[in-house]
Subunit: 104 residues, 2 copies
DNA sequence: ATACTAATATCGTATATACGATATTGGAGT
DNA sequence: ACTCCAATATCGTATATACGATATTAGTAT
């Protein structure tokens, strides 16, 4: 996960958040993102992100039935998610009203 | 502003949002982003964004005293912001609780 | 008018996120 | 065992956002 000042880390952030709620595979993530955004991210988008988060030690593969590989957060991933969430809130603190209005 | 499926449009989104609340110059935007994120985006980050939003017709230069150039949203920019806000809320609808908790 | 300075603008470079296309892999079913 | 398919993985390419360095510009002050 990036530490610098740019805005590019959001896909990793979303993936960490989704996995923190429920252990998920690449395909499940693609489905969930389709629900949220209307379009399904291509395999070339999601699998490199999972690879990078895995190599960074933020998520860990768990064996599941079938050929799916599910991932769960590691301790380090939980910590990273807390940090990223705080940053997100600092940047977007004033989106609270809109989120309430649009999404109830 | 981008229409596709990626996550990269957030700096433009934030800039549109800030300008929608108050006409702002590049320096004022840098200051506000510093407040929110802790680091001030470099000139090489913010001015190209303003240029691109201006060329896209989303913001418009207004003459101010001094050498500052302030920008205001155009009608097209207002519309774009509404669309982008809805998308943002669809993606991050479940951040509502965190935003409430962290930022009150 | 000239020098100074803050704001703006541009340049080269780096990287995360994106895509579509293609390759690989591992269970399922025959 | 072999084929098939869905899930995963990789490749080449494109673009927005990032930086630091440098250049330009327009008021300010001397």
């Amino acid at each position: 996960m990036r530490e610098s000042c740019d805005m590019r880390g959001f896909l990793s952030f979303i993936v960490l958040r989704l996995i923190s709620k429920k252990n998920m595979s690449g395909e499940e993530l693609r489905e969930e993102l389709k629900k949220r955004k209307g379009t399904k991210p291509s395999p070339g988008t999601i699998y490199p992100v999972l690879k990078s988060l895995n190599e960074g030690g933020f998520i860990k593969e768990i064996k599941d039935s079938g050929k799916e590989k599910k991932y769960k957060l590691t301790k380090s991933g939980q910590k990273e998610l807390r940090i990223a969430t705080r940053k997100f809130c600092e940047i977007f603190y004033d989106m609270k009203d809109e989120l309430g209005r649009h999404c109830d």
